[in-house]
Every structure is written in structure tokens, then in C-alpha cells.
Amino acid sequence: MDPSPSPLLQAENVSFRWAPRLAPTVELDRFTIAAQERVFLYGPSGSGKSTLLGIFGGVLVPQQGHVRILGTDLGSLGASRRDAFRVDHIGFIFQQFNLIPYLSVVENVLLPCRFSRRRRERAMQAGGNLEAQALRLLAQLDLGRALHARNVTQLSVGQQQRVAAARALIGRPELIIADEPTSSLDAGRQEGFLELLLAECASSGAALLFVSHDRRLAAHFTRQVAMDEVSRAAPALGEAA
């Protein structure tokens, strides 16, 4: 279950509830992700997936338990250190509307570099300068230069998701968290997007935590985990379906 001696992400005895009187939304004993691992996490909506991602991302702080990323306990960091840590080591892709409408394609991709010196420096190492690295990533994700001049709101959903993937990948964070990034794409494009994303994660050496309710995509991953295996608070798959 635990392939490397020091996992990239390690969560232990985590319990999170939105309010003291509510039942826990997430309750897990142990969950790990190894470096460069591709984990497929599936579960119905309402099973606490997004909450779990908020905990892993350090936005939500669990009332109990510890989340360690690269050996650092997120709970031990102050709020602003946690914000900095998140952007240094994690890239996020959301379901849709990932982009800030008033920024250009390249500016959207470079957003993490504005807030993280580490991501900025790693992006510069890879591409010479920030813009070149952004263009390189966009090209690898099949977004030609002709699209860069467009307002991001004029891009198709698939194109927007690829811009978001480039943003998550820039500066080579160790972990990419993708929250249902394919659910607004049609079936044909889901595969294409996933292949591009997996290839880029592999080439930048990032681990990928991919969350979806659609198990057809699971075959591409090294490990598949059901939400109800991770969290005792999640309803068992059978009853929620």
C-alpha cells in the first residue's frame, strides 16, 4: 500500500466537520500518495471529495489528525505559511471556470508564479524565462499560439481545462490535484485531456490525485481508491448510487 518510505502526502486520523454540531464530512484513518504516483479517487457527489481536497490543499484545517506533505505537517503552519506552502507544492485543476476572465491565457498560466518564488524559479530553470515556459506548456497541451490572444472566456471548455492544466503544472509542483476536471467535457475529449495531463505530469515528475465520479477513466491510473474506503464518513458506493 505504501510504496516509498517517505510518502509525498500522508494523512492520518483526520476528522473534519463543517460545524461542531454536524457529523464529520471526512473521517479517515490513513491515506498516502507516493511521489509521482497517479491516484484515481472516485466517489459520488456529496461523499466529501471536495472537502478532502480542501484539507489536502491546506485551505480547510481538520479538527483532528495530521496531513503531511513532503514531511511538513500542514496543521503546524500558520495560515499565510500554509497559503505559501500550497502554491509552492500543489497545482489545482477544477471542474470548470478555472480561469480568471480578465487575464490573458498566458497570464492565467503564470498566476502561481506571481505568488510563489519557488514555482517562479523552477519555471525559469525549465524554460529560460517565465513566458517561454508558459508557451512551452501550452504548446505541449495542444494549445496553439493563435489561441493565446483570445479572451479566455472565448475558449472552449476543453481549451480552458488545458490552460488550467498548464497553470497547475508550471513551476513543477510535486502534486497535482484535479477535481473532476473532465466532467464538463464530452466523452471523446475526456480521454484526450487525460492523456495530455498524464503525459505532462510524468514529464514534470508530479504525482496526480485525480478525483472523479466516472470510473471509466480509472484504467489510466496506478492506483484506484473509492471515497468510502478513504473516509468512514462517506456513504458506501452502493447506497449513494
Binding site: 471536495s50 472537502t51 481536497l53 480542501g54 490543499g57 485551505v59 480547510l60 495560515a79 499565510s80 497559503d83 505559501a84 500550497r86 502554491v87 509552492d88 489545482f92 477544477f94 471542474q95 471556470f97 478555472n98 480561469l99 480568471i100 476572465p101 480578465y102 487575464l103 498566476l111 502561481p112 506571481r114 505568488f115 510563489s116 497553470r167 490535484i177 477535481d179
Partner: protein, 420 residues
């Protein structure tokens, strides 16, 4: 700088809404500062109704009342002073000039002022401007009259027109001095002071039209002395209403004032016009304070509008803020973004408001000054105005930043994935 650029781009993205808020703030700032300026101008215009006059002298009454009738030609004197007292005071070596004033008649609602040609020579208004004639000359003949600018323009008089005076202030049952018409020989240029609303004649003329009158009533039986015989009478006045006094040396003012207050011939009073005007202004002060309160309310409404707009836009910006959180922006970045925007909006609103104010006062200033005697200063800038402006910007900043607290909570509650 990165954050500033982000804030600018984000603001530009919502420019229509923000432009409306900027306009609302600009208008409320213009109103606040405009009212403040009008207030100061009204006060100045008021105190500039008379300048260069060191003392106002009259029979004993309240200082405010004396100034009201001697300078503003409002109300009526309860007692007159003797002409020989006037002569005596005017002859004092400390006195440079004296202007006698005799009130009591009117022409179609405008007060008549009996005086001497010294009035046109020595009377000063505003910051020491002398009276000027827009047409004609001072009166010299017995039945000559000089009109203030408003009197001439309202009633359409020109040089050479004949007018008659009314005994008293011209209410129902007033008696006309119809037997003795006056000829308009001069029209004064506009001053924005009570001079504009006055009809000037000589002291002798006041005597002449009241020949044979007793106790304020016309001679019985319709008897009247024909104009050509009038000149045979001694037309030296017995009494006048008040006098304006200019001193050779202003430093002597308290000395002369005491001397007049202790005048042996009759009970007299000398008042420093500035002091009495200040007292009078305090009475009017309630009005100016409520004006200021109203315009402060307008600013509060403007800023509340901004706070409401910021709050409303938060839902719309929820996604944007969540994305920023996911790429490493902390609460302080979000507060900074909203703060920069609030400063930008209030700052440009305030700047636009000031520009509007300057433009407005430059455009309407000369007109306001000549028509209403409001000396509006277009470019002058006071410490009070800077403080008002700073208070507006600070309040706007606070109104913009307080919702940031809610924004941070929203961003937190959303986790990393904004809700739709």
C-alpha cells in the same frame, strides 16, 4: 506591484459598475465641498457687506439691530440720533470720514437711504472695493436720486426716469410722496451687497419730502408745499438714523468707540461692524450647520452605495477569489486586492468630485459673486477641505475593506472549489 496590476485588471473587468460608483462618490464629494464653500462664501459675503468702516454709530439699541438697519437697511430704528451729534463726531480729529444714513422711506419695496455724496466716495465693500457707477453720477440736485443695481434692473429704470418715494416701508396704507418726484441721475454697478437694493437720495431731500409732516403723518387737508418753494426752507436735517465712521488710524478704534459710548450730548452707541456681524452670523449658524449635516449625509449615502456594491460583487467574484486562493493568494492578498480597489474607487471619485467642483465654481463663480455677493474661490484650497476629503476617502476605504472579511470567509467556506 503584481497585486496592484491584478486589482486594476479586475476593476477594469467590472468598469461599468465601478464607474457608476465613482460618479456617485464624485457627486457627493462635489456636494459636500460645494456646500462647505458656499457656506464660507456666504459668511464672507455677509461680512463683506461693509468693509473699511471702522465704527457704526447710532442711538442706543442692540449692536446687532444697529448693524441690521445701518448696513443691511433691514428693520427700523427705534430711535434716531441728532444731526448735531453727527457733526460733532465727524469733526473729531481721529475721524477721517463719516457717512450719515437716514432711513424710513422706500420705493416699491426697496429702502431709501438718505445720505451725502461722501457715501459714494468712502463706502467700501468686499475686500475694500469702492462703489462704481455703471451709469451717471452721484446726486447733486435736491431731487436727484442714485439707484442700486438691483433696483434699476428689477424696475427697468434708466437715467432720466422719474420716481416717487413711499413713506415707510411700502405696506398697505402707505402714503406716497407723490408731490415730489425724483430724477434718476446715477446707477451703481453691482456689488452683491445691500447697496444693490437701495435707493439713494440726499439728506436734504429727505427733509424736503417731509416738510410740514408731523409725527409721521402727512400735513392735514392735503396741504403740500410746492416743489419750487421747498428750497426756501432750511433743509438741514434735525436727526439721522445712523452713521458710518472711518478713522484715520484704526488703532484708535477702541478709544473712539469709548468716547462715543460716553458721548455727552445724547445716549449713543458705537459698534465695530465685524464684531456685530459675527454675532449675527452665530444666529444664522444653525442653518449652515444643518446644511453641512445634509451634505455629510449625502456622502454617507454615496459610501453606503459603494459598500453595497462591493458586497454584491463579492458573490460575483467568489470564483475569482477562490482561484486566487488556489494559486497561493492568502487572506491578506484578498484584503489588499479589495483595499486597492476601494482606494482606487473612492480616490478617483474624490478627485473627480474636486475637479467638478473647481470647474463649477470657475464657471459660476463670477455670476454668483455679482448676483448674490457670494465670493466663491475656484482654486483656493483650505485645510478643512483636505480634512473632509481625507475623511471621505478613509470612510470609502473602510467600506471597501470590511467586506473583505466576508470575502475571506467565503473563500474559506468554498474550500478550493468555488460553488456555483
Amino acid at each position: 506591484m503584481n497585486l496592484l496590476r491584478l486589482a486594476l485588471r479586475s476593476a477594469w473587468n467590472r468598469r461599468v459598475t465601478l464607474a457608476l460608483i465613482v460618479c456617485a462618490i464624485a457627486l457627493s464629494v462635489t456636494m459636500l465641498l460645494g456646500v462647505e464653500r458656499a457656506r464660507i462664501a456666504a459668511r464672507e459675503g455677509f461680512s463683506q457687506a461693509v468693509s473699511g468702516t471702522d465704527l457704526v454709530v447710532g442711538a442706543r439699541t442692540s449692536p446687532i439691530q444697529l448693524v441690521l438697519y445701518a448696513v443691511f437697511h433691514l428693520g427700523e430704528a427705534t430711535n434716531n440720533m441728532l444731526w448735531k451729534s453727527e457733526q460733532q463726531i465727524a469733526g473729531d480729529p481721529a475721524v477721517a470720514w463719516a457717512i450719515p444714513i437716514s432711513l424710513g422711506d422706500s420705493h416699491r419695496g426697496f429702502p431709501t437711504v438718505g445720505t451725502t455724496p461722501a457715501f459714494f466716495e468712502h463706502f467700501k465693500y468686499s475686500l475694500g472695493a469702492p462703489l462704481a457707477f455703471s451709469a451717471g453720477r452721484p446726486f447733486s440736485g435736491l431731487f436727484d436720486t442714485v439707484l442700486g443695481a438691483d433696483v434699476a434692473s428689477h424696475l427697468g429704470y434708466r437715467l432720466g426716469d422719474a420716481i416717487t418715494l413711499t413713506h415707510g416701508s411700502g405696506g398697505i396704507g402707505s402714503v406716497e410722496h407723490a408731490d415730489k418726484p425724483f430724477t434718476v441721475v446715477g446707477i451703481l454697478a453691482r456689488t452683491g451687497t445691500p447697496v444693490d437694493r437701495s435707493v439713494f437720495v440726499s439728506l436734504e431731500a429727505i427733509e424736503a419730502i417731509h416738510l410740514g409732516w408731523q409725527g409721521g403723518a402727512p400735513p392735514p387737508g392735503g396741504f403740500s408745499i410746492p416743489e419750487q418753494f421747498v428750497r426756501k426752507f432750511d433743509l438741514t436735517p434735525k436727526t439721522i438714523t445712523a452713521m458710518l465712521v472711518g478713522l484715520r488710524n484704526r488703532a484708535a478704534v477702541f478709544h473712539v468707540q469709548r468716547a462715543i459710548n460716553e458721548f455727552a450730548g445724547e445716549p449713543l452707541m458705537a459698534v465695530l461692524p465685524g464684531v456685530a456681524l459675527d454675532q449675527l452670523w452665530q444666529v444664522v449658524g444653525v442653518v449652515e450647520k444643518s446644511l453641512l449635516a445634509v451634505s455629510a449625509l449625502v456622502v454617507v449615502v454615496g459610501i453606503a452605495g459603494m459598500a453595497a456594491a462591493v458586497l454584491a460583487s463579492l458573490n460575483e467574484r467568489r470564483r475569482e477569489l477562490s482561484i486566487l486562493r488556489s494559486v497561493g493568494a492568502g487572506p491578506r492578498h484578498i484584503v489588499a486586492l479589495l483595499g486597492i480597489e476601494a482606494l482606487l474607487v473612492t480616490g478617483s471619485g474624490a478627485a473627480l468630485g474636486v475637479a467638478l467642483l473647481v470647474a463649477l465654481s470657475a464657471l459660476t463663480g463670477p455670476w454668483l459673486e455679482s448676483n448674490y455677493g457670494l465670493p466663491i474661490n475656484a482654486l483656493g484650497w483650505s485645510v478643512d477641505e483636505s480634512l473632509l476629503l481625507a475623511a471621505v476617502v478613509a470612510a470609502g476605504f473602510a467600506a471597501g475593506v470590511l467586506p473583505a472579511y466576508r470575502a475571506c470567509r467565503l473563500a474559506l467556506a468554498d474550500g478550493l472549489t468555488p460553488r456555483l
